[in-house]
């Protein structure tokens, strides 16, 4: 069974500093996608960044980047120059690229950006 583990229930960072959120996953498949979603109090899941497993290069989206270690099954999110608007729940998620197309989420990390 595929699982996603986020070992940090809560994190705090000062505005303008850098923070890294951890995620590990378990799968026997080789074709899959990984995501980080942000969920503010409005409840809507917002995609932050995605990574295809077949790509060796780490994905980057402005202040957000990932450290994808396929052999270690690790997918951490780095947020640079943290802003107050980054305060939210962050979920790591995995989807298999084959027929079983369900997105599996971790338990989330609550990130608080302090002024």
């Amino acid at each position: 069974a595929q699982t996603v583990t986020q070992s940090q229930p809560e994190m705090s960072v000062q505005e303008a500093e850098t923070v890294t959120l951890s995620c590990t996953y378990d799968t026997s498949e080789s074709n899959y996608y990984l995501f980080w979603y942000k969920q503010p109090p409005s409840r809507q899941m917002i995609l932050v960044i995605r990574q295809e497993a077949y790509k060796q290069q780490n994905a980057t989206e402005n202040r957000f980047s990932v450290n994808f270690q396929k052999a270690a099954k690790s997918f951490s999110l780095k947020i640079s120059d943290s802003q107050l608007g980054d305060t939210a729940m962050y979920f790591c998620a995995f989807i298999h690229g084959g027929a079983t197309n369900k997105l599996i989420f971790g338990t989330g990390t609550l990130l608080a950006v302090q002024p």
């Binding site: 979603y37 899941m45 295809e52 197309n101 369900k102 997105l103 338990t107 989330g108």
Partner: protein
């Protein structure tokens, strides 16, 4: 609008009642998902539709839960004989058939008294 729309935004009901939650996906998205998110938890998969058919309903917790998508667009999640443990936010997402990204709605918060 251009996003996934869910109604109602909030629903309060009494134990034992029947509830329907509606999801209107992004136009043209063939895949549709329902998730349940309890307080402080990550979303749990319930059911996935590809077109009109349920391709994977392995996450439905019991036979009180049922979902339909008769025309391959709008979907309705139906919960019979609601229990207090059904209280959660029910999230819907849609996805184009050939990409990995899911687009989520804002969810329907169900409270069973």
């Amino acid at each position: 609008g251009a996003g996934v729309s869910q109604t109602p935004s909030n629903k309060v009901t009494e134990k034992g009642k029947y509830v329907e939650l509606r999801c209107d996906p992004i136009s043209g998205h063939t895949a549709l998902y329902w998730y349940r998110q309890s307080l402080g938890q990550g979303p749990e998969f319930l059911i996935y539709f590809q077109g009109t058919g349920a391709a994977d309903d392995s996450g439905l917790p019991n036979d009180r839960f049922f979902a339909v998508r008769p025309e391959g667009s709008v979907s309705t999640l139906k919960i019979q004989r609601t229990e207090r443990g059904d209280s959660a936010v029910y999230l819907c997402a849609s996805r184009p058939s050939n990409t990995g990204e899911l687009f989520f709605g804002e969810g329907s918060r169900l409270t069973v008294l």
